[in-house]
């Protein structure tokens, strides 16, 4: 071939000899941020991760990711306030992902198909640990300790495990076959479960300490707070949690014509709904808190799952917010009504807030019965030495009780928890901490991780799509036994996972690969070192930042080079 003159030809692709990477002063790096749903979940569930697995068409693997944090997903899907959804970035576009319905689908599939926990049951090489109380906190701790290879003894004073999940939460919200399936599966992990064994009655703290390397206390809070109105108490007073528990066991509940329930938590609202369904015509809830709503201060609203409140209103419960009971109106020993007054929690002179009642706002409510449901404290029997005169245990964020080296505590017994998910998270954290202490590893960090904000996503790449809606029993179909809310079918779940932004993690959209003007994003079939399918070719990347800007999930960050 005739040699062409200088400048007239060049070999194809020889520009690869010129490494444009030297122009760069910022470099793109894959950065896996926590998703808001993940960071917000007290139990530590990573919804982003299991939704992504679902998206790949592997529900079982998705469930396995889920139960790495929370062993009771079919349960929490039904009763948790869904902190994940409250935090979900998708709320800024249309509505949050219905994470609890995806969780519920996976939890129910696991029960239906008998999926086993990804736990090696034969592993028992750790030091023995005893867990006191088989509510969600205790069950979670026992589960995680077994995952980590510790032999576990779990004791509970009651004949069955489950704690308040079994003894207080109505079956219309948590069917017992779901609870039984999840608790049963958990106890089969080689846990030595000792029912009808109460600490303080059947065994002492010292005894348990002697037999185990560590103790995790999760006795919940079972003793009702003392209640009176200016010293007055009706002679036939029954407190709320007791009534609910009795109803669950005996199936009987008092049926006055009208009732006022005093309190602003789950017990008050659940009891109100149970009494209403049992035929009590007028059911009132009197609470010092405000009601949930768009403008409500989250610190000042009823401490219940928001949709439980909505359903209660639907069912005809009358709420009296920011109110307290000032006087009982008695005719002889019979209650005929009570006097309510407006009040609000206000900051006082010393910075501490206190409740202030407003004179001139008194009203009378005619009711035949009043039921206090103002909360519970720890039943001290057996724990006197650890508790002192306090209502709850005092502990550091991972549950370590000050001055008691080998005892950790979690769940409602801490006083500042109050949800099933928080209890499960406490159990997990304590198990990790105990394992770390026993093996000389670094303690888990209970601090909330940073998460990726909505404005770091590129939502141009997402389409609006309506949130899937769960089926729900119509008002007239609601009874004492049937679950009120239903789950989604596979097609609906598929729609819902398709709405997830995959905050902070690559969803393999190809944008960076397609849009890099310099061919500096390379795609791999195998996963790259960081888990994605894309690798930056820093020899050529000029650091323009375009890929980072156009990544829908915020998975690419620019750092100085």
């Amino acid at each position: 071939m005739k040699q062409l003159s200088r400048g007239a030809f060049a070999l194809p692709g020889t520009s690869l000899d010129f490494k444009t990477g030297t122009w760069r002063n910022e470099m793109p790096v894959h950065t896996h941020w926590g998703a808001p749903c993940h960071v917000a979940c007290p139990a530590g569930e990573d919804a982003q991760a299991y939704i992504a697995k679902m998206m790949e068409g592997h529900p079982k693997q998705a469930w396995e990711i889920l139960v790495q944090a929370n062993p009771l997903p079919a349960t929490t899907a039904r009763v948790c306030p869904h902190f994940c959804e409250q935090a979900c970035n998708r709320k800024h576009m249309d509505q949050p992902i219905a994470i609890h319905l995806i969780e519920r689908y996976l939890g129910d599939e696991a029960i239906k198909n008998n999926w086993a926990y990804p736990v090696d049951v034969s592993k028992e090489d750790g030091d023995p640990v005893c867990v006191v109380g088989a509510g969600p906190a205790g069950l979670s701790a026992a589960y995680h300790l077994r995952r980590l290879g510790h032999p576990v003894t779990l004791i509970d004073s009651l004949p069955e495990a489950g704690g308040l999940l079994r003894t207080a939460i109505p079956v219309t919200r948590l069917p017992r076959d779901v609870l039984d399936a999840e608790v049963g599966r958990l106890l089969k992990l080689g846990i030595d479960f000792k029912p009808r064994t109460a600490l303080g009655r059947d065994v002492s703290l010292e005894q348990l300490m002697g037999e185990h390397a560590y103790l995790f206390l999760a006795p919940g809070a079972a003793k009702s707070r003392h209640w009176s109105v200016d010293g007055a108490v009706p002679s036939d007073l029954r407190e709320g949690l007791g009534l609910l528990k009795e109803w669950l066991v005996v199936g009987d509940i008092p049926k006055p014509k009208s009732v006022a329930i005093h309190g602003g938590g789950n017990t008050a609202v659940d009891l109100a709904r149970v009494m209403k369904r049992a035929g009590v015509a007028d059911v009132h809830v009197i609470t010092a808190s405000g009601l949930p709503g768009p403008d409500a201060d989250p610190k000042d609203v009823l401490n219940v799952v928001p949709r439980e409140f909505e359903q209660a209103v639907e069912e005809g419960i009358v709420f009296h917010a920011h109110r307290t009971i000032q006087r009982l109106l008695m005719r002889g020993s019979k209650l005929v009504g009570l006097e309510m007054v407006h009040l609000k929690k206000l900051p006082g002179a010393g910075g501490r807030s206190s409740r202030v009642a407003f004179e001139g706002t008194e009203t009378v409510l005619h009711v035949e019965m009043v039921v206090p449901a103002i909360g519970e404290v720890v039943e001290p029997q057996g724990f006197e030495n650890l508790l002192g005169h306090a209502d709850y245990f005092k502990a550091d964020p991972i549950g370590q009780i000050a001055g008691s080296d080998r005892v950790l505590v979690g769940g409602d017994a801490r006083g500042d928890r109050g949800t099933v998910t928080a209890a499960i998270g406490d159990g997990r954290l304590a198990a990790l901490a105990i394992h770390a202490k026993l093996t000389g590893k670094e303690l888990p960090d209970p601090k909330r991780r940073p998460f990726i904000d909505y404005d770091k996503l590129n939502v141009n790449y997402f389409e609006p799509a309506k949130r899937a809606v769960e089926p729900m029993l119509a008002l007239e179909q609601r009874n004492d036994s049937d679950e009120i809310e239903g789950g989604l079918n596979y097609a609906q779940v598929t729609h819902e996972i398709g709405r997830c932004f995959s905050c902070g993690n690559c969803l393999a959209c190809d944008n960076c690969w397609t849009l890099c003007p310099d061919n500096a994003v390379i795609k791999t079939v195998e996963r790259a070192a960081d888990g994605s399918h894309y690798v930056f070719d820093y020899e050529y990347c000029k650091g323009c930042g375009l890929c980072a800007h156009e990544c829908p999930c915020g998975y690419i960050g620019m750092v100085s080079d």
Binding site: D17, D510, L515, N519, I522, C544
Partner: protein
Amino acid sequence: MQSAPKEGVAGQHNMEELRKLQPRYRGLEAGHRACQGCGEALAARLVTEAAGPDVILTNATGCLEVFTTPWPQSAWRLPWIHSLFENSAAVASGVEAALKAQGRSTKVIAQGGDGGTFDIGFQALSGMLERQHNILYVCYDNEAYMNTGIQRSGSTPHAAMTTTSPPGKERMGKRHMKKDLLSIIAAHHIPYAASASVAYPADIRRKVRRAVSIEGPTFLLIHSPCPLGWGIESDVSIEVARLAVQTGLFPVIELERGELTGVMPIRNPRPVTDYLKLQNRFKHLFTDDPRARKEREHVQALADHNIEIYQLRGEGVDALDTDGADTVRRGGVVD
């Protein structure tokens, strides 16, 4: 925040091998000298990706020519020839005639910037179309003569600042309108002409495949932001390109034999200020000067006019409209 290992990632892979294994045709390789975030480099890569490999390229003088072929290297992995600023279409016509004489079916693609197309290469282009050569002509429209330092072209939009249309006492940036090139092309009654934007790669690929499958002259105008010339950060080229389409300032349309046969509908038209305020070349439109306000309204009217004459207003949600066309679906690679 946990960040990926810095060097580890590239280090653990044999990049040279991986580059060869990319599941797409690479007509334009890395190592070219375009500025960071250059829309023209991206557009040319997308065009050759969709058209290659049985293609011969011609190129007018301009950024694309200069940044891809610093002697003795070439970023092209296709036969490519450059002669002059004004004659890309003429050179392509000759190449196509020669291929035809040899009985070969290799497709010829002529390329040029907007200066080389709207202005100086226009008569060569018009001749190429009129003589019905089997050529796809692609114009990378970055709306000024960039390679020589940002001079206004026939394509520079009204009110934009360039070095030869500075804002000042006399006027607020370019006085004249952006030339309506597609209408002139349409008047040649060629089988297919279209506009596209780098913000919508799938749309570019579809249009390129369509155009090269047609026997006869076809034309593609691709809106390609120039970070340097437009005064934008290098990371927002796509963002800016997307806004040009979403405001209606750059209509994405298809013409067959001169008739409008398709548009990318705009789902939610954005105000032109969303587009203008990101760019330094329109900075003077955001001053206190009362003329600034007037010019902003003028640009909005131009966008409204485009929306009206091309009927760009979408009717509800459409998978191919300005919002739907770039929706990401999960799963670029299957496990």
